[in-house]
């Protein structure tokens, strides 16, 4: 069975939370991709960049353009509103994690 679509749906929420957790300090898109690669998490740029944009539109993330090494870079960081959302989502995630583990046990 192809789990691709199920994995995509599951990842969607996870990556949103991941960005909120990662972006306490401002980072630009490529930097986020590389940082995750170093931790063996491969993320498709075409998934990440629109997602960053949507989080920005929801005012969970803030952004600013900076010119570095003669290149424009868009830096994202979590907003104050985003921190509150993150707090709530982390609670949900921890509850879900605890619930799953109660069934499948910790390996």
């Amino acid at each position: 069975m192809d789990i691709g679509k199920l994995a995509t749906e599951m990842n969607r929420g996870f990556i949103q939370l991941l960005m909120m957790v990662m972006l306490d300090e401002p980072m630009y898109g490529y930097e986020i991709v590389r940082t995750l690669q170093e931790r063996n998490f491969i993320i498709d740029e075409n998934t990440l960049y629109p997602l960053l944009r949507r989080l920005e539109e929801k005012e969970i993330l803030a952004s600013e353009w900076r010119v570095e090494e003669n290149k424009p870079r868009k830096y994202y960081s979590i907003s104050d509103a985003g921190r509150k959302v993150r707090e709530e989502l982390l609670k949900i995630w921890q509850e879900q994690d605890r619930l799953i583990k109660s069934f499948v046990g910790e390996e």
Partner: protein, 312 residues
């Protein structure tokens, strides 16, 4: 860099329905990501490194589709196609209904369920919903398939569109008004000629049929004159579409069994004369010409919108 610009332009064509400044921002972000990756992964930004990164980044359609969150039933860039294709099929469908009325009970090929006016008119909304649904279904599958190809929108009709000058529009109006006058005199007095100031009636076979034909011409030309008048002041495709639709509605009314008898009474002609084969041939010809013109104008109207949405 030319390749990158072209790539971004292509993505822009698949991002309609968004505010221009937001589209600019999205394209700026994508440009920034591609430049960053080309330099970091290939050492420098040049045509070769950009070509590789662009290829890996994905097709413009796929990249653009990711910026629409809720997975639309029909991709936003296909919506103008929905209206254009529905318009084309609906125009042809009206034409077939009209032909079924013209042929009446003898219409073996164009036999629709109703051959009276009310029946046909009540079928038109159903026909429209059917056509709209059919096109929606096709575009739904196109969207689900990834919408990776652009559908035809017949730009040939736009390239070959000539907007008439004011003088030409006035000349068209004058010609149609003259036509109205001639056909009116024709079906009122019959075919006449003047010798030494004396009006003489021309004796011809199928006089009643000719009068009926002239009455049809009078109606069509009157409708044309009204829209030609509007066109003199405000020339637009929508006026031409309205003119064609009004012409078709007129034809639907006059050829329907409900009204052709009354018209025959009004003109003082025998009811049988309205079914003359030559008249049916002329009606079929007028119907086909009107339908073709309506289809072309519908294509032009929506194709111009598609072009506008891909150029902004």
């Amino acid at each position: 860099m030319e390749r990158l610009k072209k790539y971004l332009d292509n993505i822009r064509t698949f991002l309609p329905g968004r505010q221009p400044e937001k589209v600019d921002e999205i394209l700026r972000e994508i440009e920034s990501h591609i430049l960053e990756r080309a330099e970091r992964e290939h050492g420098e930004i040049n045509d070769t490194s950009l070509a590789i990164v662009i290829k890996e980044y994905g097709s413009p359609e796929q990249v653009a589709a990711r910026y629409y969150e809720d997975g639309p039933i029909i991709a936003p860039h296909l919506k103008n196609y929905l209206f254009m294709y529905t318009g084309i099929i609906f125009a042809i469908h009206i034409g077939l209904h009209l032909l079924s009325l013209i042929f009446g009970e003898n219409g073996a090929i164009f036999r629709f369920s109703s051959t009276d006016l009310l029946g046909v008119l009540s079928q038109l909304p159903v026909t429209f919903i059917f056509d709209f649904g059919l096109v929606s279904l096709v575009l739904y599958f196109v969207t689900k398939a990834g919408a990776t190809s652009r559908l035809p929108y017949f730009t040939w009709f736009l390239k070959n569109e000539k907007v008439p000058s004011l003088a030409q529009r006035i000349a068209t109006l004058v010609a149609s008004i003259v036509g109205v006058a001639i056909t009116y005199l024709g079906f009122t007095y019959g075919p006449v000629y003047f010798v030494d100031g004396q009006m003489n009636t021309l004796a011809i076979a199928a006089l009643d049929t000719m009068k009926y034909g002239l009455f049809l011409g009078f109606g069509i030309l009157t409708i044309s004159s009204i829209f030609n008048f509007i066109n003199v002041f405000n020339y637009s495709r929508i006026v031409k579409i309205a003119s064609d639709i009004a012409g078709l509605i007129f034809l639907l009314i006059v050829v329907s069994p409900d009204y052709s008898g009354r018209i025959a009474d009004f003109l003082g002609i025998s009811p049988e004369s309205t079914g003359h084969p030559l008249l049916i041939g002329i009606l079929v010809f007028i119907t086909l010409v009107t339908i073709v013109e309506l289809v072309i104008e519908t294509i032009r109207f929506w194709a111009s919108r598609i072009v506008a949405s891909t150029n902004t």
